[in-house]
Structure formats: structure tokens, C-alpha cells
């Protein structure tokens, strides 16, 4: 393997200093002269017709400068696909979830704006609501959209091989119902933006994980060409695939109010608005049927998924796609059928979240596989090794896996004292029962949606030998800015400090699909590499001319440029930059590149082909202490053997794994929105239980190196795998501790306690 100078090193984050000093500006930190505040008026009903909106009292309030209702948007709607454009910035005729936006106000300060929203009088006719997806599918259920029968927002089907034949060939067939919870992304920065509309178009400083989504939405909504929409990226206080990966009422309303008033307009949602009205993870019911031979070989699987979609479709079609297309990994599956239904209910809107779609069906399949193995007397490691794919591998739905570290990861876990000595810990510890569980999962990297997929980079050489780097890819906390700068520095033989990454600004940076689906390192990384190589090739010609050698023999390393095998011909990089920039009439050196791995576009309707550029594999061991008197589970230890191809920045890869695993632990054990008739009863961080420092286990991360050919320097996904592996490994550990298979997340103390009581009762 080639020796790298910067790649593979534990380089501190390039944005570290700005973040530890408080200097980093987030959207809510922007402030402008004459700025107005926008607040949103929201519906008190989960399902109702809007009969009339009277804004006159709000308009008369002193300090109010503008009031909007849905009509001001003239029927414009947005959605993830042309046929799912159904969501309005402000509802005009009907509200479909509680606290859906119905009007907006701009006023001189936040308090006045808030007061004005309360003066808006909306006349509603309440309609019966439906809040359970299985109820909503029934013939007589209330319908959210008149044209959509049985409330099916989206359905997606896959059918490969012959599942019926597979089940006939099996020695054991299981059918189980699994449920995943209603959880939130849990970023601490609520959505916010400052918008300004003038003759040059829209400028918006926004908290956006994927700023080119809102860029397109605003252009369409306001009938402007794309070059009149400028989204300037603030620092982002976490995203995880939620609302910041889409547009929301505040974005459209602040722009419209700025257009009306000629003033900059700011909005900041409060945490209650975030938790009650913003995107959340789909909660799903997975009816899973699996066939297995006596030796553990999986013969077939049929999954029937029912997802609570909430009031609008949003990115749901992709969610449904991912619940199925990734089920053929990481275990060999010769026959697979998948029927996924995304159902409208009068709940808040479900959308993407870290581990998108995959976490639900993998949880179901992983636990079911282990339940069946237990019945057949096969050990948890053995059942996984038996079925684990080995690269190169083509799944039955034609996903091509070129590197796979699953077996190595599982063997690594099996070799730890945590696993080998697991029975020793079972000794009598009073009311604490200890358990160890494992999981083996896959995730995609370099997600490929339909349409625009690429990332691009521009690298500009400054005459003093420093470098400007422009990318449209956003770092919403995952550390991609640092990794991308490392790539530029590596290629040009520079130090990280010599490269300055500019913040995303759609007026300046190249267009980018977005920071989702673990695509930044894989795709923006390849683009960065290409752009840096472009600069290098241009510079090499100047050096080659001076030394009269071939440009191919010029080496860039440690801020030096020299001739390969003739190190006496050398000069500092900055000197070569000056020579190039000042030679003759002078050169202006700019490199560019965009990502392209030559993969065919996949078939979104059939679930055929590669939805990712590459696939990562995560093997995870979790240990738990279950208090059998209270049902409380404390996760004590985790070992995560993660195949990200090659860690380009190992400290960052560790950090991503730790963060994802803990988020997955929250989902498995504590977190859930408590809902009643569409109302979120715990829209605050006291009652919605995210993990705190004292809840966190010891976490060891082991890198499994596999060097994927479709990734810069062999890199694959590093940010999402562990949120998929975490819940099944914890559920497996709780089974080890209690002897009970829990099929419904989260495993709250209450649930565990009740089942333990029943079990005790049955024994007595």
C-alpha cells in the first residue's frame, strides 16, 4: 500500500477552533439591520378543513409588518418526486397533522410576532382522524387525500427468486411481527434561517444539511431561475437526515415575508415546534417470514412492511426503497420478496433518518435469524458466518459488493474476551442479569438517488502556494470538511493548514446532491481528489519545463516538489506556485472534478441495481446489565468492528461510530414519542429520553480494512453503519440476559418488567 502523508492520520478537525471558541456562526446567530422576526401560526387540530382565516387583528397589532396565509403561495406544492408534490408551505384548505402551519407573521421583534400569531383567527371544521397505519389502510378509515385510497402514500415491491420454493426447501420457517419506534433525530439546533429578497433574488442563511434541496425548492416556489437563489451555509448544529435535509414552512414564509416587506426576515423554531412538527423517523411494523435449513442456511425471506408515514409523503419513497433493497445484504439470500406500504396518518411527517430505512428491516431480519438459530442450536456467531456474503458478491437484486469485511469483523468480535468469557459474567449478581449480544449489518455509502447524483470540487491555487477549495457538500457535524481537506492536501503534498475549505454558498460552490446516505467522503471525496490532481497536473508542467523532465516524474510531497529519483531537482511548493502564476503572461490555476464511478443507474421501481456506490459492514457486540426487579437496561460495553474500507481519518471514524451506536442505543432502549390522537405528548428533551453521558457504555472501535475500489483511497461509509448494528446487538444482549426475545423497540423498563413478571407467573 502506498504511504500517505495526510490520509489515514488522526488529523484534528479543521473547524475545531471555531467551534470551541464560540466563534462558529449558526443560522440563529445571524442578525441584520432592520431584520424582522417570523413566527408561524399552527393548527390546533390533527385533521380539519380550513373554512376561513381572518388575519385582520394580527395585521393591526403594532409592530406587525406582514401576515401570510397559504393563498399567498398560489397553490405551489413541493415533494420528493414530481408525483408526490403535495406539501404546501402553509396549508390552504385542509390540515392533516396537529400544529401544521397555517399562517405566518413578520414583526419587529420575536415577542410581537408570537403575539400576532395568536390573533390570527382560523375557522376549522374538524374531521375524524386516523393515527394508526394499520387502521388507516382499512376500507372505512378517514382519508387524508381524497384521491388516495386506503391512505397508501407509497408502496414498493420486490420479488426475486421464488420465495415459496425457498420456504418449501426450508427445515424451519418463522413468521414474526417486529415494531420499530417513533424517534427523532435529536439535533440540538432547531431549524432557523435569515432570508432576504431583493432585485438580485433570494439570499438565505439557513441551517441546511443539504442546501441544494432548499435552493431548488425556493427557485420553484418563487418562480426564479436557480442563479437567483443564493443559499449560504451557516454552521449546522446536526442534521441526521431530518428536517434540515428538506425545506419547511419557515423557509418559504421568511422569504415570502422578506419579499413583502423588503426587510431581512429571520425565523428560529423552538424545541417544541421542532419535536411536534418536524420530520421524524418512520415507525414501522415489519411482518417477517424467514426460511432456514437445519445447518442455518437461509433459504428465503418475505418482508411485509407497514410504515406510519404521517401526513405527507416527503422523502418516503426512498425510505420504502431502502427497507427492501438493502435486505439482500449482508447475508446470502437466494429468494426474496418485499412488500412495503407507506401509510398516511394524521401524525407528524415521517422521513429519513441516519440508518435510513435499513435499520427497521435489518432489525427484524437480524433478530429473527438469531431466534431461528437458537431453535436449531446454532451459535450467534456461527449463524452469521454461515450466511455472511463474501466479496466479490452480487445480490439477487444485482447490488454488487466489491469489498466486505463482515466475516473478519464477526471473527474479531468472537475473539474478544467480551465474547469468549461471556458465560463467566453470568455468575450470580443479585438482581442484575448480564447479557452479551452481537449483530452483523450492512449499509450503503455514496447513496445514489434518482436524477442528480454527483458531487463536484473546484480547487484554486493562490500565488503564495496556498489553496482554496470549493465544494457543495455540507459538513453538518460529521467531519467531512476535514476529510475533504485532507484529500486535497494529500494529493498536492501540502499540509492541512495550507488548504482552506469555503463554506457552501450556492452562488459560488458547485452544485451538490446533498449530505445524506453517507455519500460525502465517497463522492465529494472523489471529486476533491480529481480537482486536486487537475491542479497538480497543471503545476507539474511548469516544474517539468524547468527541469526538462516528463511531468509524470514530478512528485508533490511535504510542501516540496521534486523529480522522482532525482531529489536534487527540488523546490518548495510555494515557489512552483509563484513560477506558474508569474511565468510569461501568467497562469491562473484552477482544478475541477466531479464524482463518477461508472455505475449504472438503478431501477427504482423494481429495487434492482446499486443504490449505493459501495457497501460498508458493521459487526457489533453489546453488553447489557438488566435489572430484573425494575426492567431497566444499562448498556455497559460495545465493541464495533466496522469495515469502512479504509479510515481516512481514524479519530473521526471512531467518533462517527460512537455517535451512531449511542443514537442507536437510545432508539433501542429509551427513546420514543408518546402519541395520543396525533398529539406528541412529550415534545421536550426532559420527557423524550435521549442518552446522556451517564448512560453511555465503554465503546471500542476496531477498523476492518478492505480498500474498496469505488472510493477515494479505498474509503466507504463511516457514519451510519453503527446505528443499524446497535439495536439488534442490544436486543440480542437483552435476550441473553433474560431469555426473552423482544420484538418491539424501545425496550423500556416497563415493557421488560411486564414480560419478566409474566414469565415469573408462568413458572409459579
Amino acid at each position: 500500500m502506498e504511504e500517505f502523508s495526510i490520509i489515514g492520520k488522526r488529523i484534528p478537525r479543521v473547524d475545531g477552533r471555531a467551534k470551541v471558541t464560540g466563534e462558529a456562526k449558526y443560522a440563529a446567530d445571524y442578525d441584520m439591520p432592520g431584520m424582522l422576526w417570523c413566527k408561524i401560526a399552527r393548527s390546533p387540530y390533527a385533521h380539519a378543513k380550513i373554512l376561513n382565516i381572518d388575519t385582520s387583528r394580527a395585521e393591526r397589532l403594532r409592530g406587525v409588518k406582514g401576515v401570510l396565509t397559504g393563498k399567498d403561495f398560489k397553490g405551489w406544492k413541493w415533494g420528493w418526486m414530481p408525483k408526490t408534490r403535495e406539501e404546501e408551505p402553509l396549508a390552504t384548505h385542509k390540515v392533516r397533522y396537529l400544529a401544521e402551519a397555517v399562517a405566518a407573521v413578520a414583526a419587529v421583534d420575536e415577542d410581537t410576532a408570537e403575539e400576532a400569531t395568536q390573533l390570527i383567527q382560523v375557522e376549522y371544521e374538524e374531521l375524524p382522524g386516523v393515527f394508526d397505519p394499520e387502521e388507516a389502510m382499512k376500507e372505512d378509515a378517514p382519508q387524508l387525500y381524497d384521491h388516495v385510497k386506503n391512505n397508501i402514500s407509497w408502496d414498493f415491491h420486490m420479488d426475486f427468486g421464488d420465495v415459496e420454493k425457498g420456504f418449501r426447501e426450508a427445515d424451519l420457517v418463522h413468521e414474526d411481527r417486529f415494531v420499530t419506534g417513533r424517534v427523532t433525530h435529536g439535533y440540538l439546533e432547531p431549524p432557523a434561517a435569515v432570508a432576504y429578497y431583493d432585485s438580485s433574488g433570494i439570499t438565505i442563511w439557513a441551517a441546511k444539511q443539504s442546501p441544494y434541496f432548499v435552493y431548488r425548492h425556493l427557485a420553484a416556489c418563487f418562480g426564479l431561475p436557480l442563479n437567483k437563489v443564493r443559499v449560504i451555509q451557516a454552521f449546522i448544529g446536526g442534521g441526521f437526515g431530518g428536517t434540515k435535509n428538506d425545506s419547511l414552512a419557515g423557509d418559504f414564509c421568511s422569504v415570502m415575508l422578506s419579499k413583502m416587506t423588503g426587510k431581512p426576515v429571520k425565523f428560529v423554531y423552538n424545541m417544541e415546534e421542532e419535536l411536534m412538527t418536524c420530520r421524524r423517523r418512520h415507525n414501522m411494523i415489519v411482518y417477517n417470514k424467514m426460511g432456514m435449513k437445519k445447518d442455518g442456511t437461509i433459504t428465503a425471506m418475505h418482508s411485509r412492511v407497514i410504515a406510519d408515514g404521517g401526513a405527507h409523503t416527503a422523502i418516503g419513497p426512498l425510505t420504502m426503497y431502502l427497507t427492501g433493497c438493502m435486505s439482500t445484504l449482508p447475508y446470502k439470500l437466494p429468494n426474496f420478496k418485499h412488500d412495503a406500504y407507506r401509510i398516511y396518518t394524521n401524525n407528524p411527517i415521517s422521513a429519513a433518518m441516519r440508518g435510513h430505512g435499513v435499520t427497521h428491516t435489518r432489525f427484524a431480519a437480524e433478530i429473527q435469524m438469531e431466534m431461528m438459530a437458537e431453535e436449531l442450536g446454532i451459535d450467534p456467531v456461527a449463524i452469521r458466518l454461515k450466511n455472511a456474503i463474501i466479496a466479490p458478491h452480487e445480490t439477487i437484486n444485482k447490488a454488487t459488493v466489491l469489498s466486505c469485511g463482515l466475516s473478519e469483523g464477526l471473527k474479531t468480535l468472537a475473539d474478544t474476551p467480551n465474547w469468549k468469557e461471556r458465560d463467566n459474567k453470568k455468575a450470580d449478581e443479585g438482581h442484575i442479569s448480564h447479557g452479551v449480544g452481537i449483530s452483523g449489518t450492512a449499509y450503503l455509502g455514496g447513496a445514489r438517488q434518482r436524477g442528480h447524483q454527483s458531487c463536484a470540487a473546484i480547487v484554486r491555487l493562490c500565488e503564495d502556494g496556498t489553496v482554496d477549495y470549493l465544494t457543495g457538500a455540507t459538513d453538518c457535524g460529521q467531519g467531512s470538511d476535514t476529510v475533504l481537506v485532507q484529500i486535497i492536501a494529500e494529493e498536492l503534498g501540502l499540509m492541512v493548514e495550507d488548504v482552506d475549505i469555503k463554506r457552501v454558498d450556492t452562488a459560488v460552490t458547485p452544485c451538490d446532491a446533498g449530505s445524506y446516505g453517507s455519500r460525502v467522503t465517497v463522492l465529494a471525496g472523489q471529486a476533491a481528489q480529481k480537482a486536486a490532481i487537475d491542479v497538480k497536473e497543471q503545476l507539474a508542467k511548469f516544474a517539468a519545463g524547468k527541469w526538462e523532465v516528463s511531468p509524470d516524474n514530478i512528485v508533490f510531497k511535504n510542501r516540496q516538489v521534486y523529480v522522482k529519483d532525482a531529489p536534487e531537482m527540488a523546490m518548495p511548493f510555494d515557489k512552483l506556485a509563484k513560477i506558474a502564476c508569474y511565468s510569461g503572461t501568467g497562469a491562473v490555476i484552477m482544478g475541477k472534478g466531479y464524482s463518477e464511478y461508472g455505475l449504472e443507474v438503478y431501477d427504482f421501481d423494481k429495487g434492482l441495481g446499486n443504490c449505493g456506490t459501495s457497501y460498508s459492514f458493521t459487526s457489533q457486540l453489546s453488553e447489557v446489565d438488566v435489572d430484573i426487579e425494575t426492567g431497566f437496561v444499562k448498556c455497559t460495553d460495545m465493541v464495533i468492528a466496522h469495515d469502512c474500507g479504509r479510515p481516512l481519518n481514524p479519530i473521526n471514524v471512531e467518533a462517527q461510530n460512537q455517535g451512531a451506536a449511542v443514537q442507536g442505543m437510545g432508539q433501542a432502549l429509551y427513546e420514543q414519542f408518546v402519541m395520543e390522537h396525533g398529539e406528541t405528548l412529550n415534545p421536550n428533551l426532559a420527557d423524550y429520553k435521549m442518552p446522556l453521558s451517564l448512560d453511555v457504555p465503554n465503546i471500542e472501535v476496531v477498523d476492518i480494512i478492505t480498500d474498496d475500489p469505488n472510493g477515494p483511497y479505498g474509503a466507504k461509509e463511516a457514519s451510519e453503519g453503527a446505528i443499524v448494528s446497535s439495536p439488534p446487538s442490544i436486543v440480542s444482549a437483552v435476550h441473553d440476559a433474560t431469555g426473552i426475545w423482544f420484538k418491539e423497540q424501545p425496550l423500556t423498563p416497563e415493557k421488560i418488567f411486564r414480560v419478566l413478571e409474566q414469565k415469573k407467573g408462568a413458572h409459579e
Binding site: V20, Y26, L188, E189, N684
Partner: protein, 159 residues
């Protein structure tokens, strides 16, 4: 509405302000003093993003009426570095990847400072307790705990 006068020392600088009496310390810090390093996450005293040190104790500034700051000494994240030189806790957070999105970081570092001021040699469990009032969704806390532990080591050397 009647404005009330308050005086306090913040990051070593004296301030005399006239404020509406219902405003929070967080609002005054962010809006009047334009120090936006202190963040509003939940606005309900749960997340710790707005933590500042007042009178030697960590407080959630979103819950503190600004009037209570009268006569107090306050430290915010902007008050930690000494010119270009970062505070050892800040250095340690950079070096040990103690932050990702950065939104909780100001409050987390303030809680860490408050802890190390009280207890210069904390155990890992004590560090976890010291930041138990601060949510972080990105890191899973592991690298934050490591950062604070490393900072304690650095500060023992007298830095």
C-alpha cells in the same frame, strides 16, 4: 414598559444595561452583547447548550432572569481563550475530537470548566456526572469525556 438597570462583569468586562425585566440572561448575552457562542437549544433548561458560569456556578442561562445577573460575575465561552491561546479544555476538545456539529460544545466546555475548577483530578465517572446536564447527539459522549480527561492532565502541568 419600565426598563430596569443591571450591572455585571462578563468575561472580565463591566457592563451596565437597561433591560426589560422579563428577559433571560441568555437573551441579553446573545442579543444585547452580541455574544452568540452561547446557544439556545431547548429553551427549557434541559439541554445545557446555553450554560454559562455565574458566581462560580454553572447555570442554564435560558432559565435565569437577567435581573438575577445584577452584581454577578459571568463567564461565557468567549471568555475562556487568552487572546490567541486557547484554554486547555478548548485545546483538548480540538485535539481529541470532543466536538462534531459544535452546537453543544460551548455549554459542554463551560460545564467542563466548572467541573475542573471544583475538582482538578476527576475520575471518568465524575466527568460523566459533571456533564450530565448537557446533551450531545453527535459524539456519544466518549470523545468528550476523553477530552475533559486530557484537559485535566494538561492543567495539572500548570497550563
Amino acid at each position: 414598559m419600565e426598563m430596569k438597570g443591571i450591572k455585571f462583569v462578563l468575561n472580565g468586562k463591566s457592563y451596565e444595561l437597561k433591560i426589560q425585566p422579563w428577559r433571560t440572561l441568555l437573551e441579553v448575552i446573545r442579543e444585547d452583547l452580541k455574544l452568540t457562542g452561547t446557544k439556545e437549544g431547548c429553551g427549557q433548561g434541559e439541554c445545557g447548550s446555553c450554560a454559562v458560569i455565574m458566581g462560580g456556578k454553572t447555570v442554564n442561562s435560558c432559565l435565569v432572569p437577567a435581573m438575577e445577573a445584577d452584581g454577578q460575575e459571568i463567564i461565557t465561552i468567549e471568555g475562556l481563550a487568552d487572546g490567541e491561546d486557547l484554554h486547555p479544555i478548548q485545546d483538548a476538545f480540538v485535539e481529541h475530537a470532543g466536538m462534531q456539529c459544535g452546537f453543544c460544545t460551548s455549554g459542554m466546555i463551560i460545564s467542563a470548566k466548572s467541573l475542573l475548577d471544583r475538582n482538578p483530578d476527576p475520575s471518568l465517572e465524575e466527568i460523566k456526572e459533571g456533564i450530565a446536564g448537557n446533551f450531545c447527539r453527535c459524539t456519544g459522549y466518549t470523545k468528550i469525556v476523553e477530552s475533559i480527561s486530557a484537559a485535566a492532565e494538561m492543567m495539572k502541568g500548570g497550563k
